[in-house]
Symmetry: C5
Subunit: 95 residues, 5 copies
């Protein structure tokens, strides 16, 4: 999984019938010290992450493991809102 | 998922029996501000995306989740035509 | 999927029992304008692509979707020989 | 699989119901000589790896193969704690 | 698939119960002309590849297709020992 920060949203009305109405977030990928990387991901969110929160994103078939998502054609999912990241003895994130 | 813009089409007549007759689009990948990236993807399209439209593309086994696509040997699918992308307070795309 | 050009072949005699006797091609990956990229893929070919032909290659579990390939331990498959690639109004490939 | 060193932990309390309570480690990826790479992975750990230990990490659907993990929405798993890495005649790691 | 050369081995004694006792090789990835790339992969080997031999490596769920490997949490497998690689009219490898 990767660390990411919520930056925005994407809306599609014309879409595959299988694409569920879940919220689609634009995530800025972060390195392990919390610095932004030149990468992003659009991921489904069922956890209710808010703007600028740090989240954990899982990619590939892992995005469809949650019950009810098996037939959602997504390849990235927010699996949790991050409380703390600790590297060595140091908390690098604790909002 | 990633943001992309429709640039063109690919046609194959000699192909695997399992490859369905779905339209194959050449997509230019975009960053989260809408700038083109030096990457592309050829993706199947069932949504009817037109030239220069922004779409959301899903990759990997997600491309075969839509009913009827389970046996289509594709690894990328257009899952929606984008209406709006909002980053922070700003709509960066609203055609 | 990605565009690629057939450059050569790979032969293995000592191999996993599950690896089928399908032809294994060395593919040079191409960008969307047909320029070679510094990447290659070894892919199975059931379509009969010849040297220097442009093909469409699908990667990941998509390589094992074609009936008879479910138990072939491959991660890349030629899914079609390309007839034309059109970008905007221009045919960039039409052999 | 890739070699990695345990650097820290991530804690999420608000999360997908399917995300199990397994420990989530921040791993620094290593090259094959043990030098750190500018990449990291957050992976689930059931083996009990400690700080600074070298581990083997498996990514993608392999993360959900262990019995009890089939419905855990993770895309990376520590599959072993490394005892030795030997390159040619030389042991490059033997803690 | 990618071409690779066998460079060494990895040993783990503390590991997931599902990780089989198969040999784990450190592979140096090669480009299509046989030059080493700055990438490596740790892959399971059931074929018996020896040091410095060239092998074909398959990644992702393809690593678990071989009967008996379905529940092995690996993401890379040696699927064959390479006899010859031919690019155009030239054999670039024929040990």
């Amino acid at each position: 999984m990767q660390l990411a920060r919520v930056r925005g949203t994407v809306v599609c009305t014309q879409k595959l019938p299988s694409l569920r109405g879940s919220k689609l977030l634009v995530l800025e990928m972060l390195d392990e010290t919390g610095q932004p990387l030149p990468q992003y991901e659009v991921a489904a969110d069922l956890v209710g992450a808010g703007r600028d929160e740090w989240v954990l994103v899982s990619r590939g078939s892992a995005a469809r493991v949650e019950p009810g998502q098996e037939n959602n054609p997504i390849d990235a999912m927010v699996i949790g809102i991050i409380d703390t990241v600790t590297i060595g003895n140091q908390q690098i994130y604790n909002p």
